[in-house]
Each structure stands twice: as C-alpha cells, then as structure tokens.
C-alpha cells in the first residue's frame, strides 16, 4: 500500500492546482483514511480527466490533398461553427435535422430525473463507429466487417436507388434488425424515440463528414494556390515583392466564401431531403403474392437460377460462385478500402520515386527542393498508413447460409439485386433511377429473389435434371 501511496503523492505534488501536501503527514491507520483515499482517487481521476471528445478530420484525405495544417485548422473551425462539438452538436436550419433529437443522442450518457436517456450515441454506438462516425471506435479493429464509416455518406442497406441516400426508415430498420452475420446488433429494445434520435445523429455525422470533404476540396481547388488579396482586392506581397499564395478560409469575413459554403451545404443536405422520393417502387402487379403455390415458386426459382448463372443477364455466379457459396471472385474491395489501397499504392510509388532520386548525384536546386518536399510527404503519408487497419477483401455473400445482412424480406433481397449494395462490388441490375430500364426486368429480379431464397434449401450438387437413359427407356 505504502509504495502506491508514495507514488500517488509524488504524482500529485507536481500539479500546482492540487494541494495535497498535508496528506504526506497523514496517519493511514486512522479511520478517516478511507475517505481521504477515496477523495484522492477522485482527485487523481479528476485532475487527469480526459478532455471532452472532439471530432477528428479525415487525415488520409487531408494528406492526400496536401492540405497544410493552418488550412486544416480553418476547416475544423468552419465545421465547428456549422456542426458544433460531440458534446454540443448544432443542427443548422437548412439541414432539416431536429436539434432536440441531436441533443439527446450526443454528449455524455446519463438519464435525467424524468428518466429520459441522453448521450445515446456514446452509450450504444461509439465503441464501434467512433466519435466522428469514422468507423474507428475502440473495438473496430477486431470486428468483421469493420464498422461503417459514415463520413462518405454511403450506406449499404437501403431501399432507395444506388446514388441516393437512405431514408430514415432504412436507417431505423437496420437499427431495429441489426445486420445479421456482423457485429451490428439489433437495437429493438430501444424506444422508437431513441432510435429516431440515433438516426438523426447518424445523418448529422454523415453530413458533417461530407461537408468536411467538400471544404477540403474547396481549399485545394480554390484557395491554396490562389493569390492572396487584401480587403480592397489588391494582391498581398511578401518581403521580396512576390505575390503571396493562399487565401485564408474564413467564410465569416468573406462573402464569396460564405456563398460557396452555403452552396456546398445545400449540395450535402439536398440528397438527404430527397431520399424519400428516391425509394425503389416495384410495380404492384409484379410483386409476387405471399400465398403462391409451391409449383409457382419453384418455376420462378428455376427462371431465377437460369438468370443467376447467365453471364449476359444476372451474372451473379461470377462473384457468388458456381455453388453460390460466395466462392467466386475474392480479390475486390469496398470503396472505403479501395480509397486506402489507392493511398497505399501512391505512397509506395512516391517512396520509390524518392529512392530513385536519392541515388541521382547531379540534382538541380529545384529538384532537391522537390525531393525534400516529397520526402516530407512520404513521411506524412506513412504516419497516416500506420493508423490503417489491415485491408480486407470484400468477400461475396455465401447465399446458402440464409444470412442476409440487409434483411431477409423479399423486398430487401429485391432492393439488393435491383440496386446492388452501394460501396460494395455488388452491382445492381435494375434501372439507376425511377423509370430507367435496367439490365433485368422487375419480373426477372423477382425470379432471382425466389432463387436466392431457395438456395439454403437446395442441395449443392443438385439433383440430375434428366433421367438416366435406361430408366427413361423403361418408363416409356
């Protein structure tokens, strides 16, 4: 006990704000020692309490765009002004988000005296999806698949067209049902109001992430290389008389930037507000009835099977495999991993280029400057790469397991086949928008749905379709 005590005292003495000097003379055997030890523990934790969590910028994209640190700070400031902090989120009016719901979902987890739960995201989601919604919570490294990164605004399981955002109902459904076969559990025990608050917060994180990306691109395209001008529009010169590059990002003081940011915001928000108009609506007459006779289902499944194995039509077998065990192509990636892989590949190329130039002896001053710049860039990129989780291939689903991550209703499977799975190699075979003709007709997609749903019950080797010759002769 004593060494711990000495360690604690030594540690505390170094902090000016903690006045614990008198504790050194305390009699540890006295009955009051317990209370003091408890207070000490509290002080220890209190003094070292972690700062409130902050949203993080997407380092990979910042480094990819070579966004300087001061611009990164300005982007963070603009985002902070628009979206607030993880403890105090702000729903700007144009977003269509409800401030009350955001407030309930954000911040520290606690229940008020009325029994209302606060901090829902931190209670239920943050350990996987992370504070920023980047899918990098503490547990994420061990999960399969990695948790969703909301910041791109791409969601896999939804009933809208591929390019559209999910509806609130889509997000609620995945929360209610979970994603079977993954670490995403069902939150069916949560009251509807709490689920709605979490849906709102997920949308908020997605909007924030998309806005960050747009601001980063705006800095890259419009500000970083532009000549700096003063308030009167005259170019700002450095001490050598050369024009200074780089316009600061400060929408509050720059009407043009303010308009640009508003425009970006509208572009981010509009797809979310339009999602309900982008729902795939299968033709009523073509939706198979629930009480179809077995023969009809079998006939439909047979057509579906032909489409499944048709290279010109469904071409499903090329990924899901000839046995539908998910043993087709195994080397593709989802879009999130593709982005990381591209970053890795580019870093490797840059490293090689630096190594080659290092061996050259007669470099000009400009070349040496460029080499130094690239060397620094390689170092920055390698720092980002260290934070990557191991890249994983997007393995096609084993359709014989009967585990459907996006839901097992026929309409869910229909939506998956019609529009594919956004962000994944799974393509859609339906039209890309309302009224657009796709590779397959709706009836054909329903046939594949029937076949897919029958796969868990179909023998892998399959019965012989034709009778053996001698048996056929006997039965003539």
């Amino acid at each position: 006990m004593l060494p711990v005590w000495k360690w604690v005292l030594a540690r505390r003495f170094s902090l000016a704000e903690c006045q614990w000097h008198t504790l050194g003379n305390m009699n540890l055997r006295s009955p009051s020692s317990l209370g003091i030890i408890a207070a000490l523990v509290a002080a220890l934790v209190g003094c070292e309490q972690a700062p409130p969590p902050q949203f993080h910028l997407n380092e990979m994209r910042m480094v990819e765009n070579e966004t300087p640190a001061d611009y990164q700070q300005e982007i963070a400031d603009v985002l902070g002004a628009m979206f607030g902090t993880p403890d105090q989120p702000f729903a700007f009016p144009e977003s269509g988000l409800t401030q009350t719901r955001l407030t309930l979902a954000a911040g520290a987890a606690y229940n008020d005296t009325e029994g209302v739960s606060h901090g829902l995201y931190r209670r239920h989601c943050v350990h996987c999806h992370g504070i920023t919604g980047d899918g990098r919570g503490p547990t994420a490294r061990f999960l399969n698949p990695y948790p969703r990164d909301y910041r791109s605004g791409v969601f896999k399981f939804k009933t809208t067209f591929a390019a559209a955002k999910p509806t609130d109902e889509d997000l609620k459904r995945i929360m209610h049902n979970g994603a079977p076969g993954t670490a995403m559990p069902s939150f069916s025990l949560l009251p509807n109001s709490e689920v709605e608050s979490l849906v709102e917060y997920v949308k908020y994180l997605a909007m924030r992430g998309e806005m960050e990306q747009r601001l980063n691109q705006y800095v890259y395209d419009e500000l970083a290389d532009a000549d700096r001008v003063d308030e009167k529009g005259n170019p700002v010169l450095d001490e050598n008389g050369a024009p200074l590059k780089g316009i600061r990002l400060n929408p509050a003081a720059n009407a043009g930037q303010q308009e640009a940011v508003k425009g970006m915001m509208a572009e981010v928000v509009a797809p979310w507000n339009e999602a309900k108009d982008q729902v795939i609506a299968p033709t009523e007459e073509q939706i198979p009835k629930d009480n179809r006779p077995a023969e009809e289902i079998a006939a439909s499944a047979k057509k579906g099977r032909d489409l499944f194995f048709s290279p010109q039509k469904g071409n499903c077998f090329s990924c899901h495999g000839p046995t539908a065990l998910g043993d087709g192509q195994q080397n593709d990636f989802d879009v999130w991993t593709k982005e990381q892989k591209a970053f890795l590949d580019k870093t490797e190329q840059l490293k090689q280029s630096v190594a080659e130039r290092d061996e050259q002896k007669d470099l000009s001053d400009d070349d040496k400057t460029a080499l130094e710049r690239d060397r620094r860039l390689v170092s920055e990129r390698e720092d980002v790469i260290k934070t990557f989780y191991p890249l994983r291939n997007a393995i096609p689903r084993n359709l014989r397991k009967g585990i459907y991550r996006g839901g097992r209703r026929r309409i869910d499977i229909f939506a998956r086949i019609h529009q594919g799975i956004p962000g994944m190699p799974m393509p859609g075979v339906g039209g890309s928008g309302p009224g657009v003709q796709g590779t397959l007709t709706e009836a054909e997609i329903w046939n594949i749905v029937d076949y897919v749903l029958s796969l868990p019950y179909e023998a892998i080797s399959g019965p012989q379709t034709a009778l053996p010759e001698n048996v056929a002769e006997v039965t003539k």
Partner: protein, 346 residues
Amino acid sequence: MSQFVADQRSAWPHRWAWLLACATFPLIWWGGFVTVTGSGMAFVDWLMPDGYFMPLFPWFQSSGGKFVEHGHRLLGMLSGLLTIALLVSLYKGEPRRWVRRFGVGLLLGVIFQGVLGGLRVNLDERVIALIHGCTGPLFFAACAAMVAVTSPRWLNSPAILAGAADRPRMGRLSKTAEPRLLRLAILTTVLAYLQLVIGAVVRHSALMTADQAGAVFQIAVYFHVLVALAVFAHVLMLAHKCFWRGVAPLMSASLALLIVAQIFLGLSTWLVKYGMPEWAVATFGEWPYRNTDSGLIQATIIAGHGAVGSLIVALCTVLTLKVGRQLGLQSSTRPAVKQTIAGAIA
C-alpha cells in the same frame, strides 16, 4: 489452543459471513448488468437518487436503467448492512483479534467500494467505473475468505490433518499440502485476479472516448486471451492437486468445472457482443444469430462472465487459505520446515 478458541467462539460470525458472501455474489452480477446495459448513469447523483433518500426510492415503479442501477445500489446497501452485522457478531463472539480486524477491513472495504461507485456517478468518470469493477471482486473474495476463516473446519483442521496423515498415499501424490502447492495457489489467485482486471479494462475501455482507448482495448484483448490460457492451466493444475491431496476436494472440483464454464462464457461474451472475428469466419462461417443490444441473453452472458470470474478468484483465495492453513499447522508441528507465508496465513 484451537480447542480453547473453538469453545469460546460463536457460530454467528460464520453465519453472517455466509449471508454477506451470498448477498455480494448477486451484487457482482448486478454490477455486470449495470455496465452491460449502460445504466451506470441512470441517476446523475449518488446517495440521493432523483432527490429521494436511497432506501425510499420507488424502485418497483422505476424501469430500464433506473431499475437496474437502483437495484445495484440496494444490493450494495444490503452488503453494507450485512458487513456491519458481521462486524458486530465478530466483536461479540470471535476471540481471534486478527479476524476481528479482518472484519473491520471488510467494513472499510464495503464503504470504499460504495464511495467509489458514488464517485463514478458524481464525476461521471469511466475510469472510476473500471476501478469499481476491479475492487468489487476483491471485496467478494475477502467475504469468501471470511467465510473460510470463521468456519468450524478452519479451527478443526488439525483433526483433518491427522486423519490425512493416516490415509494411504496415492501414487506419487502426497495426501497433504506442501509449499509448492501453496505457491501454485497464490500464483493462480493472482493470475485469476489479474485476468479479472484485464477483463474490466476490455469492457470499459471500449466505452471510453479518449484517443488512446482503441489501443488500450486492443492490448487488453490480447492480454485477456493470453492470461486466460495461463489461468486455465493454473486453475486446472491447482484443482487437480488440491483434489488428490484432499484439500477441499469439493471446492477443487467446482473450480475445475467453473474454469471450463468460464472459457465458454468468455467465448460467448465475445460472440454475443462482437460476433465472429474474421479468422473464425474463414474457418467456421458467419455468426448466424442476430445479437440484441442489452438483450437478456447478451446481458446474462456478459454479466455472468464477470461474476464467474469473481467466483473463481474467491474460490482460489479460499483454496489458498486452506492450503496455507494446512501448511501452517504442519510447520507448527514440524518446526524444521520453513513456511513463513503459510505460518502467517494460519
């Protein structure tokens, strides 16, 4: 000496100690429920939940997090009251001074644990929740130790020992404890507790928001798996040796069964919380069940994993004491054998 002590002692301390241990075990379970269901902050204040004097809070009218958290507080209060009753009975009928002091230590322990729980709420600090989760099982192990040292068997051990000496030897195994066994018992207890602490880090670091939480979680998971193997081997070895040496054979057999159950509970905890890891999917296929957050199955398995871990620590502690007791008594009759630790325990 022991006959003299046995004549003076009351049976009540042992009874109260049993009651206390029996009340503390569900308290540990319930504490696990509090963490699993995220109910730790169901009240933002401690001692006066929502302005009520704690025992008067309408518990049965509450629901959700408040029901879970207040249940934990009530059980904690019950443990505190039972500790006071135990202490009173010790001072009334226990002649051994060190046992009475041990009782005082238990009272201080339960108060400390309660204050820690309160600070976790009042400061809303996850690190204190982690410490609270680690000290709870320690208190439970101390309760179990109190049950052991106040039991009639503890004082009547010489008779058992005498009987053991007369029993035939079974192969190479001696029918009595030996210093190596005590070392094994101590090591196993320390390992089991260390495993519990790592488990608490796994559980709580996942819910922390600091930037380093992910790294802490990952390291803790690897250590948890590694130490699990060590604990599994040590517990089985300890149980095996104690069983065949006649040191609490029933407890040894229970310990062996519990460690096997604990391994299954640990695997189940991961599955119901995080599903199948990638390497397991490649071998066994996808986790076919849909987990429900804070569902009964998930909460029971996860809380059960923590509670069984505590039970293992408690049983290891008691087994260590029993081994030490035997050794101490042996050394008192055979002074040539140096067994300082054993002597101290006895």
